[in-house]
Amino acid sequence: MKERKKEKIKTSPARKIFCVCNGILLAVLMTSCILPFIHVLAVSFSDKVYVQAGLVVFLPKGFNVRSYQYLINKIAFWRAFRITVVRTVLGTAINLSLILLTAYPLSKSKEKLIGRSVYTWFFFITMLVSGGLIPSFVLVGQLGLRNTIWSLVLPGALPVFNLVLMINFFRQVPIEMEEAAMIDGAGHFKILTKIYVPLSKAAIATISLFCMVNHWNAWFDGMIYMKSATKLPLQTYLRNIILKMDMSQMTGDDYGLLQMLSNESIRSTQIIVAVIPVLCIYPFLQKYFVKGIVLGGVKG
């Protein structure tokens, strides 16, 4: 039989070769995910001469921290950084409170929440259709939100996909606890804050991390809603200076130090500094997000 033949091919040396190749291939894939960033890191620490000659690969040449010194004093960068921190904190807080408040009733059975299917359809429809860019843009302008931080945190105040995740987590809370609390006279708000929230700490952590990463990485809203350059969030600011390579934003004082720096180094340094916060929460992301996406992706 055919099966026998294949069995013979699969002797132990072949298996060994496969394992080694497999390991190497995976190592290549893994390095492809990290080498670009190592290169950027190396450029940020390298001397102008070597960078412009294209000699820097994965190790810094002519090691110096001048571009970091330059960045520390760059007000515009830190202003954008601060705006992003504010929007991330504020935005995540709004996201989370709305998600908790909305997920609690929707996690109840149909008998307990009259009209539940109407509500779920109301939210579900927004996942199917959207007005798209133009009407949203006009609306935000008309509400007078342009050029304010609210234009960055309000339009996506209730991320429906995360809401779905939360509802599913909430459904796992044992109903007996809730019934016991009911008998003791607790209202729904109390049950939510005293039973559901403490019992779903992991879920809340997962969803806050998702929201935080989203806010940290958002750039498009900053680009279209913020008119003044001093109000741009970090990613939008980076887009303006890195992708457009707009040197007109530099002030006179910058030039002294700038002569010793290459554009590449400055760009790289800003990329690195913008990535550091993501790296800082990365261990937490790792801990929680597997649970989150598996629940979101597999679910049911």
Binding site: E3, E7, I9, K10, G23, L26, L29, M30, C33, I34, P36, F37, V40, V43, Q52, G54, V57, L101, T102, Y104, P105, L106, L113, G115, T120, F122, F123, F124, T126, V129, S130, G131, G132, L133, P135, S136, F137, V138, L139, L154, P155, L158, I167, F189, L192, N217, A218, W219, Q235, L238, I242, L243, E264, R267, S268, Y282, F289, V294, G297, V298
Partner: protein, 289 residues
């Protein structure tokens, strides 16, 4: 309980439903100063006719679908392959390390990744081209050459997201009953046969489900990515619906036409997403709510 729903309902109503109603812009000669739902001039299907008359309309649609389809296909195939490969690793620590590293790019914005890619793919100084030079190959202008632009977009998108997808499939693999493997081994099945007859069928449901759910993205070719890396030189192969809508509406102030193409996109997407959820519900018993 109904009271608790009010804030959420309100926000969604304002920022999702009003824009949907705002699609009436598509039938107007929209002047922002008069406001949404203001006293605008109605032009019927004029904006749609204008879109059809654009010489590059079919090209943009083609770019969108081609890029989106490739991303969908590779976005499923690559993570499955990597998950299977990871599953073969004997060393748990190595497995964990690889997992940790490969989903790192997923959490960075296309601003960051775009600038990193622009840097390493640069035709003159980028490390990729220097490597090609060392290998004796011609330098390639990945982001400025119509021959390479789409491929670069597709591969870099897969590169960003495959680690994330891998996690889902790996979770599916670990949930497969281990006794099946033991039984197969006793019956004399090698690793390859075990993979083919146990692992893959065990993942069948999740693979099919992911395929079905990705269908809704047929017109989402990735605005964030392309917008940050394209240039007029590659509009021919790289301009997609979303970037066209952006330029039309926010750069050229052709609000009506931009809203009209947004509306077309929304309707076509609605069709595909509805089918995908319907199929997911019927075949896989998958329900979001």
């Amino acid at each position: 309980m109904h009271l608790m729903l009010i804030p959420g309902l309100f926000m969604v109503f304002v920022f999702s439903y009003i824009p949907m109603a705002g699609l009436v812009i598509a039938f107007q000669n929209f002047v922002p100063a008069k406001g949404l739902f203001g006293d605008q001039v109605w032009v019927g299907l004029g904006n749609f006719r204008f879109l059809m008359s654009l010489p590059n309309a079919t090209n943009v649609l083609k770019n969108t679908v081609v890029i989106a389809l490739w991303k969908m296909v590779l976005g499923i195939f690559v993570p499955i392959t990597v998950a299977l490969m990871l599953n073969e690793l004997a060393s748990l620590r190595y497995k964990k390390l690889i997992q940790t590293v490969i989903y790192f790019p997923h959490f960075l914005s296309w601003i960051i990744l775009g600038s990193v890619l622009i840097d390493i793919l640069s035709p003159s100084t980028g490390i990729v081209n220097r490597l090609l030079g060392v290998l004796g190959m011609e330098h390639i202008f990945f982001l400025g050459d119509n021959q390479y632009f789409r491929g670069t977009m597709i591969i870099s998108d897969v590169w960003k997201n495959f680690g994330y997808g891998t996690i889902v499939y790996l979770a599916a693999i670990t949930s497969i009953d281990q006794t099946l493997y033991e039984a197969a081994a006793i019956d004399g099945a090698g690793r390859l046969r075990q993979t083919w007859h146990i692992t893959l069928p065990g993942m069948r449901m999740i693979i099919a489900l992911m395929m079905v759910l990705s269908m809704g993205n047929v017109l989402n070719a990735g605005f964030d990515q392309i917008f940050n890396m394209y240039s007029p030189a590659v509009y021919e192969t790289g301009d997609i619906l979303d970037t066209m809508i952006y330029r039309m509406g926010l750069e050229n102030a052709q609000f009506g036409a931009a809203a009209a193409s947004g509306m077309l996109k929304s309707i076509i997407s609605l069709f595909f997403i509805s089918i995908s959820y319907w199929v997911a519900d019927k075949w896989f018993d998958y329900r979001l709510f």
